[in-house]
Protein backbone atom coordinates (compact mmCIF):
# COMPACT_ATOMS: atom_id res chain seq x y z
CA UNK A 1 0.00 0.00 0.00
CA UNK A 2 1.06 3.58 -0.62
CA UNK A 3 0.80 4.63 2.98
CA UNK A 4 3.27 2.02 4.24
CA UNK A 5 5.98 4.63 4.69
CA UNK A 6 3.58 6.93 6.52
CA UNK A 7 2.64 4.11 8.83
CA UNK A 8 6.31 3.25 9.30
CA UNK A 9 6.98 6.89 10.15
CA UNK A 10 4.11 6.73 12.59
CA UNK A 11 6.09 4.19 14.59
CA UNK A 12 4.61 0.97 13.26
CA UNK A 13 6.81 -1.63 11.55
CA UNK A 14 6.19 -1.64 7.79
CA UNK A 15 4.44 -4.78 6.62
CA UNK A 16 6.57 -7.10 4.47
CA UNK A 17 5.71 -6.86 0.78
CA UNK A 18 5.87 -9.49 -1.94
CA UNK A 19 8.47 -8.58 -4.57
CA UNK A 20 6.94 -6.71 -7.51
CA UNK A 21 8.08 -9.09 -10.25
CA UNK A 22 8.32 -6.43 -12.99
CA UNK A 23 10.64 -4.09 -11.11
CA UNK A 24 12.40 -6.36 -8.61
CA UNK A 25 15.59 -8.08 -9.70
CA UNK A 26 15.23 -11.62 -8.38
CA UNK A 27 18.22 -12.97 -6.44
CA UNK A 28 19.94 -15.93 -8.10
CA UNK A 29 18.44 -18.30 -5.52
CA UNK A 30 14.91 -17.22 -6.52
CA UNK A 31 15.76 -17.49 -10.21
CA UNK A 32 17.19 -20.97 -9.73
CA UNK A 33 14.03 -21.97 -7.87
CA UNK A 34 11.55 -20.88 -10.55
CA UNK A 35 13.84 -22.26 -13.27
CA UNK A 36 13.71 -25.65 -11.55
CA UNK A 37 9.94 -25.58 -11.83
CA UNK A 38 9.93 -24.29 -15.41
CA UNK A 39 12.45 -26.90 -16.56
CA UNK A 40 10.42 -29.59 -14.76
CA UNK A 41 7.29 -28.66 -16.70
CA UNK A 42 9.25 -28.35 -19.96
CA UNK A 43 10.89 -31.73 -19.42
CA UNK A 44 7.50 -33.34 -18.79
CA UNK A 45 6.39 -32.16 -22.23
CA UNK A 46 9.80 -32.92 -23.77
CA UNK A 47 9.59 -36.51 -22.57
CA UNK A 48 7.02 -37.01 -25.32
CA UNK A 49 10.00 -36.74 -27.70
CA UNK A 50 11.43 -39.84 -26.00
CA UNK A 51 8.06 -41.59 -26.38
CA UNK A 52 7.96 -40.68 -30.12
CA UNK A 53 11.47 -42.02 -30.57
CA UNK A 54 10.65 -45.35 -28.86
CA UNK A 55 7.36 -45.76 -30.74
CA UNK A 56 9.12 -45.04 -34.04
CA UNK A 57 11.88 -47.53 -33.26
CA UNK A 58 9.22 -50.16 -32.48
CA UNK A 59 7.21 -49.30 -35.59
CA UNK A 60 9.82 -49.84 -38.27
CA UNK A 61 12.04 -48.09 -40.81
CA UNK A 62 9.49 -45.60 -42.21
CA UNK A 63 8.42 -44.20 -38.82
CA UNK A 64 11.99 -44.20 -37.54
CA UNK A 65 13.19 -42.32 -40.63
CA UNK A 66 10.60 -39.57 -40.20
CA UNK A 67 11.29 -39.14 -36.46
CA UNK A 68 15.04 -39.10 -37.16
CA UNK A 69 14.47 -36.51 -39.89
CA UNK A 70 12.48 -34.35 -37.47
CA UNK A 71 15.13 -34.61 -34.74
CA UNK A 72 17.82 -33.80 -37.32
CA UNK A 73 15.94 -30.75 -38.64
CA UNK A 74 16.82 -27.27 -37.28
CA UNK A 75 13.69 -27.10 -35.11
CA UNK A 76 14.29 -30.65 -33.87
CA UNK A 77 17.89 -29.80 -32.96
CA UNK A 78 16.81 -26.67 -31.09
CA UNK A 79 14.19 -28.68 -29.17
CA UNK A 80 16.69 -31.42 -28.36
CA UNK A 81 19.30 -28.87 -27.28
CA UNK A 82 16.75 -27.16 -25.04
CA UNK A 83 15.69 -30.55 -23.68
CA UNK A 84 19.28 -31.48 -22.82
CA UNK A 85 19.98 -28.10 -21.16
CA UNK A 86 16.73 -28.31 -19.15
CA UNK A 87 17.53 -31.90 -18.21
CA UNK A 88 21.02 -31.13 -16.91
CA UNK A 89 19.77 -28.05 -15.08
CA UNK A 90 16.91 -29.96 -13.41
CA UNK A 91 19.27 -32.87 -12.63
CA UNK A 92 21.89 -30.62 -11.03
CA UNK A 93 19.40 -28.49 -9.16
CA UNK A 94 17.53 -31.64 -8.08
CA UNK A 95 20.75 -32.87 -6.44
CA UNK A 96 21.02 -29.43 -4.79
CA UNK A 97 17.49 -29.96 -3.44
CA UNK A 98 18.43 -33.41 -2.12
CA UNK A 99 21.31 -31.84 -0.18
CA UNK A 100 18.84 -29.33 1.29
CA UNK A 101 16.48 -32.18 2.17
CA UNK A 102 19.35 -33.75 4.09
CA UNK A 103 19.83 -30.43 5.91
CA UNK A 104 22.99 -29.19 4.16
CA UNK A 105 23.82 -25.90 2.41
CA UNK A 106 20.79 -23.93 3.50
CA UNK A 107 22.59 -20.68 4.42
CA UNK A 108 22.31 -17.89 1.86
CA UNK A 109 26.00 -17.74 0.91
CA UNK A 110 26.14 -21.48 0.19
CA UNK A 111 22.77 -21.47 -1.59
CA UNK A 112 23.99 -18.69 -3.89
CA UNK A 113 27.24 -20.53 -4.61
CA UNK A 114 25.41 -23.78 -5.32
CA UNK A 115 22.99 -21.97 -7.65
CA UNK A 116 25.92 -20.76 -9.78
CA UNK A 117 27.50 -24.24 -9.57
CA UNK A 118 24.30 -25.80 -10.93
CA UNK A 119 24.19 -23.32 -13.84
CA UNK A 120 27.84 -24.04 -14.64
CA UNK A 121 27.18 -27.79 -14.46
CA UNK A 122 24.13 -27.54 -16.73
CA UNK A 123 25.98 -25.55 -19.40
CA UNK A 124 29.13 -27.67 -19.16
CA UNK A 125 27.35 -31.04 -19.26
CA UNK A 126 25.13 -29.93 -22.15
CA UNK A 127 28.10 -28.74 -24.22
CA UNK A 128 30.04 -31.92 -23.43
CA UNK A 129 27.11 -34.14 -24.45
CA UNK A 130 26.69 -32.28 -27.76
CA UNK A 131 30.40 -32.21 -28.55
CA UNK A 132 30.64 -35.97 -28.00
CA UNK A 133 27.40 -36.55 -29.96
CA UNK A 134 28.76 -34.62 -32.95
CA UNK A 135 32.06 -36.49 -32.67
CA UNK A 136 30.14 -39.80 -32.76
CA UNK A 137 28.06 -38.53 -35.67
CA UNK A 138 31.17 -37.43 -37.56
CA UNK A 139 32.78 -40.84 -37.01
CA UNK A 140 29.95 -42.73 -38.75
Amino acid sequence: MANDQTRAAGGKRPRPLSPHLQVYRLPVTALSSITHRATGVALSVGTLLLVCWLVAAANGPAAFASVSAFIGSPIGMVLLFGWSLALFYHLGNGIRHLFWDAGHGFDIATAEKSAYAVIAFAVGATLLAWIVAFAVLGGR
Partner: protein, 131 residues
Protein backbone atom coordinates in the same frame (compact mmCIF):
# COMPACT_ATOMS: atom_id res chain seq x y z
CA UNK B 1 -6.63 -25.94 21.68
CA UNK B 2 -9.40 -24.21 23.62
CA UNK B 3 -12.08 -26.66 22.50
CA UNK B 4 -9.88 -29.50 23.69
CA UNK B 5 -11.64 -29.26 27.01
CA UNK B 6 -14.93 -30.27 25.39
CA UNK B 7 -13.42 -33.30 23.63
CA UNK B 8 -11.72 -36.42 24.85
CA UNK B 9 -9.64 -36.62 21.65
CA UNK B 10 -5.98 -35.61 21.83
CA UNK B 11 -4.67 -32.79 19.58
CA UNK B 12 -2.63 -35.41 17.64
CA UNK B 13 -5.70 -37.59 17.20
CA UNK B 14 -7.63 -34.69 15.72
CA UNK B 15 -4.78 -33.59 13.45
CA UNK B 16 -4.00 -37.06 12.14
CA UNK B 17 -5.05 -37.54 8.52
CA UNK B 18 -5.98 -33.88 8.16
CA UNK B 19 -2.93 -32.75 6.16
CA UNK B 20 -3.73 -30.92 2.96
CA UNK B 21 -3.31 -34.01 0.81
CA UNK B 22 -4.48 -36.54 3.42
CA UNK B 23 -1.49 -38.73 2.68
CA UNK B 24 1.20 -37.37 5.00
CA UNK B 25 4.71 -37.43 3.55
CA UNK B 26 4.06 -40.07 0.90
CA UNK B 27 4.00 -37.63 -2.04
CA UNK B 28 7.17 -35.87 -0.90
CA UNK B 29 8.97 -39.15 -0.28
CA UNK B 30 7.93 -40.68 -3.64
CA UNK B 31 9.24 -37.58 -5.42
CA UNK B 32 12.62 -37.99 -3.67
CA UNK B 33 12.85 -41.74 -4.30
CA UNK B 34 12.16 -41.29 -8.03
CA UNK B 35 14.58 -38.32 -8.14
CA UNK B 36 17.39 -40.42 -6.68
CA UNK B 37 16.61 -43.28 -9.07
CA UNK B 38 16.63 -40.89 -12.02
CA UNK B 39 20.17 -39.58 -11.36
CA UNK B 40 22.01 -42.74 -12.51
CA UNK B 41 19.27 -43.74 -14.97
CA UNK B 42 19.38 -40.42 -16.81
CA UNK B 43 23.18 -40.22 -16.88
CA UNK B 44 23.20 -43.73 -18.39
CA UNK B 45 20.43 -42.79 -20.84
CA UNK B 46 22.08 -39.59 -22.05
CA UNK B 47 25.44 -41.35 -22.46
CA UNK B 48 23.69 -44.12 -24.45
CA UNK B 49 21.76 -41.69 -26.66
CA UNK B 50 24.94 -39.73 -27.35
CA UNK B 51 26.74 -42.92 -28.39
CA UNK B 52 23.75 -43.79 -30.64
CA UNK B 53 23.79 -40.41 -32.44
CA UNK B 54 22.98 -41.02 -36.09
CA UNK B 55 22.85 -44.81 -35.60
CA UNK B 56 20.74 -46.82 -38.09
CA UNK B 57 17.48 -48.41 -36.89
CA UNK B 58 18.82 -52.00 -36.50
CA UNK B 59 21.57 -50.73 -34.18
CA UNK B 60 19.04 -48.72 -32.14
CA UNK B 61 16.70 -51.72 -31.92
CA UNK B 62 19.54 -54.03 -30.92
CA UNK B 63 20.50 -51.61 -28.16
CA UNK B 64 16.91 -51.32 -26.85
CA UNK B 65 16.43 -55.11 -27.02
CA UNK B 66 19.52 -56.00 -25.00
CA UNK B 67 18.49 -57.19 -21.52
CA UNK B 68 20.30 -54.48 -19.56
CA UNK B 69 19.06 -51.62 -21.76
CA UNK B 70 15.50 -52.94 -21.81
CA UNK B 71 15.28 -53.26 -18.02
CA UNK B 72 16.97 -49.90 -17.43
CA UNK B 73 14.74 -48.23 -20.04
CA UNK B 74 11.61 -49.66 -18.38
CA UNK B 75 12.89 -48.44 -14.99
CA UNK B 76 13.61 -45.03 -16.51
CA UNK B 77 10.13 -44.82 -18.04
CA UNK B 78 8.41 -45.70 -14.74
CA UNK B 79 10.56 -43.30 -12.71
CA UNK B 80 10.32 -40.43 -15.23
CA UNK B 81 6.56 -40.51 -15.62
CA UNK B 82 5.92 -41.04 -11.90
CA UNK B 83 8.28 -38.16 -11.04
CA UNK B 84 6.78 -35.92 -13.75
CA UNK B 85 3.17 -36.41 -12.66
CA UNK B 86 4.11 -35.86 -8.99
CA UNK B 87 5.83 -32.59 -9.91
CA UNK B 88 3.10 -31.39 -12.28
CA UNK B 89 0.54 -32.14 -9.56
CA UNK B 90 2.29 -29.72 -7.20
CA UNK B 91 2.53 -27.04 -9.91
CA UNK B 92 -1.20 -27.37 -10.66
CA UNK B 93 -2.12 -27.33 -6.97
CA UNK B 94 0.00 -24.20 -6.48
CA UNK B 95 -1.37 -22.14 -9.37
CA UNK B 96 -4.87 -23.39 -10.19
CA UNK B 97 -7.41 -22.49 -7.55
CA UNK B 98 -10.72 -23.13 -9.31
CA UNK B 99 -11.68 -26.51 -7.86
CA UNK B 100 -13.25 -27.91 -11.04
CA UNK B 101 -10.43 -26.86 -13.39
CA UNK B 102 -7.88 -28.14 -10.90
CA UNK B 103 -9.54 -31.54 -10.71
CA UNK B 104 -9.74 -31.86 -14.50
CA UNK B 105 -6.09 -30.83 -14.94
CA UNK B 106 -4.89 -33.23 -12.23
CA UNK B 107 -6.80 -36.12 -13.78
CA UNK B 108 -5.56 -35.18 -17.27
CA UNK B 109 -1.93 -35.09 -16.10
CA UNK B 110 -2.20 -38.40 -14.28
CA UNK B 111 -4.01 -40.02 -17.20
CA UNK B 112 -1.49 -38.69 -19.73
CA UNK B 113 1.46 -39.86 -17.61
CA UNK B 114 -0.10 -43.33 -17.37
CA UNK B 115 -0.87 -43.56 -21.10
CA UNK B 116 2.41 -42.15 -22.44
CA UNK B 117 4.38 -44.22 -19.94
CA UNK B 118 2.43 -47.28 -21.09
CA UNK B 119 3.08 -46.51 -24.76
CA UNK B 120 6.80 -46.04 -24.11
CA UNK B 121 7.06 -49.23 -22.04
CA UNK B 122 5.07 -51.21 -24.62
CA UNK B 123 7.40 -50.00 -27.38
CA UNK B 124 10.45 -51.20 -25.44
CA UNK B 125 8.82 -54.59 -24.80
CA UNK B 126 7.74 -54.90 -28.43
CA UNK B 127 11.31 -54.31 -29.63
CA UNK B 128 12.73 -56.62 -26.95
CA UNK B 129 10.36 -59.55 -27.55
CA UNK B 130 9.19 -59.02 -31.13
CA UNK B 131 12.57 -58.24 -32.66
Amino acid sequence: MSDNTSSLRSPLGRARGLGSAKDGTHHWWAQRVTAIALIPLLLWFVASIVSLAGAPLPAVQAWIASPISAVLLLSLIVAVFHHAQLGLQVVIEDYVHAEGVKLVLLLAVKGAAWLFGGIAAFSVLKIAFGG
